[in-house]
Symmetry: C2
Subunit: 111 residues, 2 copies
DNA sequence: TTTATATTTAACCATATGGTTAAATATGGA
DNA sequence: TCCATATTTAACCATATGGTTAAATATAAA
């Protein structure tokens, strides 16, 4: 069960869901806490979380009565690959890319 | 009138529209020619093209009775920037990024 | 065991989406 | 002028989406 690009981009096409993703960047969160900043019912948030889960962007793990939501690190991969394959990534300035590579090297360097 | 991220990702969330974008990567096309490979009516394609236009991903220019569709080079920018800002771009292997940078340098080198 | 907390399920609603066919509108060519 | 070509508009349809409230479920705590 691999999410389609349709599901992925569709999941990203809603402001609430993108905000949730950014929140989860900080730390794993319980459903109630995810819902807190939004002026929206809990069931509505629950639905958004399911959409993000089906798109492979987050995972949910139930411990006790709390359902913990966490980012799925590879979730954006296919979307990124499509955009790269689309060949339009030179629209990003070269400096950001180089900085990105340095960061990556910093993170992966073992010595 | 700047397209929202919602519009952008939403426009990308349909296979037909992503295929159209890839076709336009090759060359500008008339609406009828865009429609040709699809098993779908012309009005349906016309709607897809409007969605892509409103998302800022293509432009349409009418010359005579032919409406020419062309890629908008910066169309994907905001989506890419969001994804970069999301900080998950180290999910892309370093080699593709380096290759990308080389390509970019080749394209921009004047000497 | 009773009550409170965390979350989902069900049923519903309004609007959006992605398609259709038929008709309208330009524009180009004979 | 008359016909063909290119495309859009209009009206419609089924299903999807994003929200609601009320009820159900499961677990924790008193």
């Amino acid at each position: 069960m691999h999410a389609t690009l349709d599901e992925l981009f569709s999941a990203l096409s809603d402001t609430t869901r993108r905000k949730i993703l950014v929140m989860l960047l900080e730390d794993d969160m319980a459903v109630t806490d995810v819902a807190d900043p939004f002026d929206m019912s809990l069931p509505a948030i629950s639905k958004h979380l399911n959409i993000l889960t089906n798109a492979g962007l987050i995972t949910q793990e139930k411990r006790g009565r709390v359902n913990w939501c966490k980012l799925e690190p590879d979730g954006l991969r296919d979307a990124s690959v499509w955009m790269l394959g689309f060949g339009q990534f030179d629209i990003l300035d070269i400096e950001s890319l180089e900085k990105l590579i340095e960061t990556h090297i910093d993170l992966t360097q073992t010595t």
